[in-house]
C-alpha cells in the first residue's frame, strides 16, 4: 500500500480533533479533559477543605458569602488513548471491484491515526481476524505517522472473522481504557453483539465504522452459481434470479440495520460507509457530519 496522504491533506487533518464523549484518565497532559481534578483552567467542582490543602485553591468568594471553606477543583487536561481495531479477515480483502474493504479501512485507519497523533493522543493500531494479530503499540506525536504507514503496509489480510474472541483478548491485554474504533464489515457468523457489549462493559467507548461494498449489496449476478463463503468455504448452490437479488439486497440492508440498532442499544457510535465513496471524503465530510470529528 502506498502512502495514502499528500502533505496538504495531512495539514488539514491536523485541525480536527477526535470527539470523545467521555473523559478518561491519562498519564500525560494533553488537550483532553480527564477524570483527574488538578491544575487545569476549567472549573470542575468544590469540596470541603481538608488540612494540608493548598490555600491557593480556596474559593474565597464562597467563604465570604457562606463562611464555608471550600476548595475549587479544576479539570486536568490529559491525553486520550485511541485504539484502532482493524479487521483483516478474508472477507475484508475480497474485492468485487477496483478496491477492497481492507484497503479502504487501512486508509481510514491511517487518517484517524494521524488525527490522533496530531492531537497528542496515544494511538494504537490493533489488527484482528480470528484473533488479535501483532499490534502497533500506543504511540503519540505527529512524527509517528510514518510508523503507522509502515505498520499498515505490512498487514496481510486473511482468515475468518471472530469478533468475540478477538475483542475479549483485546480487553484483557489493555488496561488503559479509551476509544475503540472498529473498522470492519462485521461479517462474523457468530455475531457482533457480545463483542460490542463486552467492550462497553469494560469501559471502552466503541466506535463502529461499518464498511460496506455496494457491489456486495447489489451484485450483478445471473444464472446457476455455486456460492462459496470466502472465510468458511461453505458452498451453497444458487440460481440467481432478479427476485432473489432483490431479496438479497433486503437481507443485507436488514443486516446493516441490525448492526446499527445494536450499536445504538449499547451507546456505541455507528457509521456506515460504502467503499465506493472516496476515503478522503469520508474522513473530511462523513465523519464530521456524523460528529466523529469536530
Amino acid at each position: 500500500m502506498s502512502v495514502p496522504f499528500d502533505e496538504a491533506f495531512l495539514r488539514r487533518l491536523e485541525y480536527l480533533h477526535m470527539v470523545s464523549r467521555k473523559v478518561y484518565s491519562g498519564k500525560q497532559r494533553a488537550e483532553r479533559r480527564s477524570k483527574k481534578v488538578g491544575s487545569g483552567l476549567e472549573f470542575a467542582d468544590h469540596r470541603d477543605y481538608s488540612p494540608g490543602d493548598d490555600f491557593r485553591y480556596l474559593d474565597w468568594q464562597v467563604f465570604a458569602r457562606m463562611e464555608r471553606m471550600l476548595i475549587r477543583l479544576h479539570e486536568e487536561e490529559e491525553d486520550l488513548q485511541i485504539y484502532i481495531l482493524l479487521d483483516c479477515s478474508r472477507s475484508m480483502s475480497l474485492s468485487l471491484g477496483d478496491i477492497s474493504k481492507f484497503d479502504h479501512a487501512a486508509k481510514i485507519a491511517a487518517a484517524l491515526a494521524y488525527v490522533g497523533l496530531a492531537n497528542l493522543d496515544r494511538v494504537a493500531i490493533v489488527p484482528f481476524g480470528e484473533k488479535l494479530e501483532q499490534r502497533m503499540p500506543p504511540t503519540r506525536g505527529k512524527n509517528q505517522i510514518f510508523k503507522v504507514f509502515r505498520f499498515l503496509e505490512a498487514i496481510t489480510p486473511g482468515g475468518p472473522t471472530r469478533l468475540n474472541a478477538s475483542l475479549k483478548q483485546f480487553v484483557h491485554q489493555n488496561k488503559r481504557r479509551g476509544m475503540a474504533v472498529i473498522l470492519s464489515d462485521f461479517y462474523d457468523p457468530e455475531g457482533y453483539d457480545d463483542a460490542l457489549s463486552y467492550l462497553r462493559y469494560n469501559g471502552y467507548e466503541p466506535f463502529a465504522i461499518h464498511l460496506v461494498d455496494e457491489l456486495e449489496m447489489t451484485p450483478s449476478l445471473r444464472g446457476d452459481l455455486s456460492v462459496v463463503d470466502c472465510e468458511t468455504g461453505e458452498v451453497k448452490e444458487v440460481t440467481v434470479t432478479p427476485r432473489m437479488l432483490a431479496r438479497y439486497k433486503e437481507v443485507h440492508q436488514e443486516f446493516c440495520r441490525n448492526l446499527e440498532a445494536c450499536c445504538k442499544q449499547r451507546q456505541a457510535s455507528y457509521f456506515r460507509t460504502a467503499i465506493q465513496v472516496p476515503w478522503d471524503e469520508i474522513v473530511l465530510r462523513i465523519f464530521r457530519a456524523g460528529g466523529f470529528l469536530k
Binding site: 457468523p189 444458487v238 427476485r243
Partner: protein, 646 residues
C-alpha cells in the same frame, strides 16, 4: 437415418445442456446472507430437477421438429387418390416410388421395331408416375450412360428417352445393374426396370436381386441371320507384295447363299460401311453356308489396291446389317528410303539391300542437309554437329551430336553378347553373337529410357537403342569391319530388323477390334500427348496417350477409327494409326431372346397426377414443423431467461 441424426444431435444438445447446468463458482464475503435468502426462496430439489428436465425436453423437441422439417415428410397415412382407370370406389394408397429405368441400346436393338417397342414400354413406366415418384433413365450397351438424375419431370424424361438410339456395340448389363443397385440402396419402394431384347449374357442373380431387377422383354426371335465373325488381311508369307485375306462367316438358320464383297480404299479416307460401299468392290466371293454353321475362308495371292479394306457379307433378307460388315487395315508395301551419311561402306549397303523395297543413297557428311525425306538416316564415323530428328542409326560414330554419351576407348578386344532382356527387342530378332569381339570400341553410355542391346562381359554397352517422340535410333559403338562383325550373318539381320523396327511395317497388322469391350491400341507417340480420334461417322474426339504409350478407347460404331498424330510429330512418325472395329459378338448376332430368370415387370397403373398436397392454413407439413420448432425455441428461451424451467 433421421433417427441416427436425432441421436447424434440429441446427444450433443444434452452434453451442452449439462455443461450449461454446471454451476459457476463465485466467492462471496459472507455466506450466511445467501443462506438466509436461500432458506426462503429456493424451491425443493425435486421441483428443480423437474424444471431442468423440462428445459432439456423442450430443446430435444425443437431438434426433433427441425429434423422432421428437413426430412420434408409427406402425408401417406390416409390420403387416397382415385385410380385414373378405375372407379371412384377403388381407392389405393400412394407411396413414393423410385424406378431405375434402363433401356437396352445395343446393336441387336436395331432389328425391326425393337427400339420403338422399348420406348413405348418406357413411356408407360414414365406415364405411371404418381406424385412423389421419381425415375432415373439410363442407356446400356457395352457401357452404361445415365441420361437423367432422379426426376419426376415427365417431359424431361421423355426427351431423354427419345434421344436414345441403338449403337453398334454389344450389351453388358453388369455395370448398369451395379449402378442401379448402388442408386437404389436404402430406398424403399424401389426397383430397376430393364427394357431389353435379352441379347446379352445373363447377369449374376445376386446383382439382379440387389438391383431389385424386373425385366421387360421386347422383340421377337429372328429366324435367320448371317454375320461376319472375323476378318484379317496380312502380307503374303512368301512374297510380301501380295496379300492373304481371311474371314469367318457365321450362319444362323437354314443354309443359304452368301455373297462377300471386298472393298479397298486407296484414298485413305473411307472409314464407314457407307464410305466403302460407294466404291466398286475389288473382289467378290460366293459362298454357300450350311444351316447353323460357322466357316472360315482364306484367299491368298491377292493384290490389294489401297490400305483400308472392308468386307461385307450380303445375304438375302438379312434383318441385321450391323454384323454383316468388318474392316481391316492393309499393310502398306512402302519403299524404304535409307540415307547413308559418311564414307562408302559396301558391307552396310549390302546388309540393307538384303531387305526388299529399300532404296539406299549415300552422301558425305559435308554434303548432308537433313533427315527429312528419308525413312532412315545412317551415320558412319561421324555425325552432324546438330542432333537430328527422325529414324537414325549411328555406326562407330566418334564425333558430332549424339543422343547418348561415349565412354573411354577400349583397346583390348571385348567379347560381346546379347543381354537376355534385349533379346525381345525387334532389332535383335534372330541376332546372336558367337566369338565376336568388339574392336576399335568406344562404349556407349546410355541415357534414361535407352536400352542396351549388346554389351561386353564388363558391362560396357556396345549397341544401344532408344525411342522418344522426336527420334528413334540404334547405335553401334565399335567398328563392324575391324571387329569382323560384317562376316557374321547377324550383321545383315540386325540392320534389316532395325529398318523393320523403324518402318513399323509389322505394327500395321492391327487386329480388328470388337465392339463388345474397350480396346487398347499401342501408339508411337510419347505419353501425355493429346491426340484426335476420328470416328467412322467423321466425328472427332480428343484423347490422351497414356503412360504406357497407348490409348484405351471404346467404339460405338463399326468402321475404321483414325488416331491422328499429335501436332509437331516428325514426318517419319506422323502417320495416322488406324483401328478397324466391327461387331464380332455371337450373342448379339444370335437375335434369339435369352431366358428371363428375373421377375417380370408389371406396369403400375397410371395414377391421377392431380393429387392435392396436404396443407394446413396454406402451409406444407415441413413449414408447420419449422414454425412449431421456432415457437418452442422461443418458449424455451423465454422460460430459461426467467428461470422458470431451470
Amino acid at each position: 437415418m433421421w433417427l441416427t441424426l436425432f441421436g447424434g444431435f440429441g446427444g450433443v444438445i444434452t452434453l451442452l445442456y449439462l455443461l450449461r447446468l454446471r454451476r459457476r463458482r463465485l466467492e462471496v464475503p459472507f455466506g450466511p446472507l445467501w443462506q438466509k435468502v436461500l432458506a426462503e426462496k429456493q424451491s425443493s430439489s425435486f421441483f428443480r430437477s423437474l424444471k431442468n428436465i423440462v428445459s432439456l425436453l423442450l430443446q430435444l423437441m425443437v431438434l426433433a421438429l427441425v429434423l422432421s422439417a428437413i426430412a420434408d415428410p409427406r402425408w401417406t397415412g390416409d390420403l387416397t387418390v382415385t385410380d385414373a382407370t378405375t372407379s371412384e370406389s377403388d381407392e389405393r394408397v400412394v407411396l413414393p416410388h423410385h424406378t431405375f429405368l434402363i433401356v437396352d441400346a445395343s446393336a441387336s436393338m436395331q432389328v425391326g421395331t425393337r427400339m420403338a417397342d422399348a420406348k413405348v414400354v418406357a413411356r408407360q413406366v414414365i406415364d405411371s408416375l404418381a406424385p412423389g415418384d421419381s425415375v432415373v433413365l439410363a442407356r446400356v450397351d457395352h457401357d452404361v450412360a445415365v441420361l437423367t438424375d432422379w426426376s419426376s419431370d415427365r417431359d424431361a424424361l421423355v426427351a431423354a428417352l427419345e434421344s436414345i438410339t441403338p449403337r453398334d456395340s454389344a450389351t453388358r448389363f453388369t455395370s448398369a445393374l451395379e449402378l442401379a443397385a448402388s442408386a437404389l440402396s436404402g430406398l424403399a419402394h424401389a426397383e430397376t426396370v430393364l427394357i431389353t431384347d435379352r441379347e446379352a449374357q445373363t447377369p449374376p442373380a445376386a446383382l439382379a436381386a440387389a438391383a431389385r431387377l424386373r425385366v421387360v422383354p421386347v422383340g421377337a426371335e429372328v429366324p435367320a441371320n448371317t454375320s461376319v465373325a472375323a476378318f484379317a488381311v496380312r502380307s503374303h508369307l512368301g512374297y510380301r507384295l501380295e496379300y492373304a485375306v481371311q474371314y469367318t462367316l457365321r450362319n444362323k438358320g437354314p443354309g443359304r447363299a452368301v455373297t462377300v464383297h471386298l472393298y479397298t480404299d486407296r484414298s485413305g479416307k473411307a472409314q464407314s460401311r457407307a464410305d466403302f460401299q460407294k466404291l466398286p468392290p475389288q473382289l467378290t466371293f460366293q459362298h454357300t453356308l450350311p444351316a447353323d454353321a460357322e466357316q472360315t475362308f482364306e484367299h491368298a495371292g491377292l493384290s490389294l489396291d489401297g490400305n483400308r479394306a472392308a468386307l461385307v457379307a450380303d445375304a438375302t433378307g438379312d434383318l441385321f446389317p450391323v454384323d454383316d460388315a468388318a474392316f481391316a487395315v492393309v499393310p502398306t508395301r512402302k519403299q524404304v528410303r535409307v540415307q547413308l551419311v559418311g564414307p562408302e561402306n559396301l558391307f552396310l549397303m549390302a546388309a540393307l539391300a538384303t531387305r526388299k523395297n529399300v532404296d539406299v543413297s549415300r552422301v558425305d557428311l559435308a554434303d548432308f542437309k537433313t533427315t527429312e525425306g528419308s525413312d532412315l538416316t545412317v551415320f558412319t564415323g561421324a555425325a552432324p554437329a546438330e542432333l537430328q530428328r527422325g529414324n537414325l542409326a549411328f555406326v562407330n560414330v566418334r564425333t558430332g551430336a549424339l543422343p547418348f554419351d561415349l565412354g573411354e576407348a577400349v583397346v583390348e578386344p571385348a567379347p560381346l553378347f546379347v543381354p537376355p532382356a534385349a533379346a525381345a527387342h525387334p532389332a535383335m530378332t534372330h541376332v546372336k553373337f558367337v566369338d565376336l569381339d568388339a574392336r576399335d570400341f568406344r562404349p556407349l553410355v546410355r541415357k534414361k529410357g535407352q536400352e542396351v542391346l549388346a554389351r561386353t562381359k564388363k558391362g560396357q554397352s556396345a549397341i544401344l537403342a532408344g525411342a522418344t517422340s522426336e527420334r528413334r535410333f540404334v547405335a553401334v559403338g565399335f567398328d563392324p569391319i575391324e571387329s569382323e562383325w560384317v562376316g557374321h550373318y547377324s550383321f545383315s539381320i540386325f540392320f534389316v530388323n532395325a529398318v523393320n523396327w523403324f518402318f513399323r511395317e509389322e505394327a500395321a497388322f492391327l487386329r480388328s477390334q470388337g465392339l463388345d469391350a474397350a480396346w487398347r491400341v499401342s501408339l508411337p507417340w510419347a505419353a501425355g500427348q493429346s491426340v484426335d480420334v476420328v470416328k467412322p461417322d467423321g466425328k472427332v474426339v480428343r484423347a490422351l496417350v497414356d503412360g504406357a504409350g497407348g490409348l484405351a478407347y471404346t467404339g460405338d460404331a463399326i468402321g475404321i477409327y483414325a488416331v491422328k498424330a499429335p501436332a509437331g510429330t516428325p514426318q517419319a512418325l506422323a502417320g495416322d494409326v488406324l483401328v478397324p472395329a466391327a461387331l464380332f459378338s455371337a450373342t448379339e448376332s444370335a437375335l434369339t431372346p435369352g431366358l428371363v430368370d428375373f421377375v417380370p415387370y408389371e406396369p403400375r397403373v397410371a395414377m391421377d397426377a392431380t393429387v392435392p398436397e396436404l396443407r394446413l392454413a396454406g402451409l406444407a407439413i415441413w413449414q408447420l414443423l419449422a414454425l412449431a420448432a421456432a415457437g418452442l425455441l422461443l418458449l424455451e428461451w423465454f422460460t430459461f431467461h426467467r428461470r422458470w424451467t431451470v
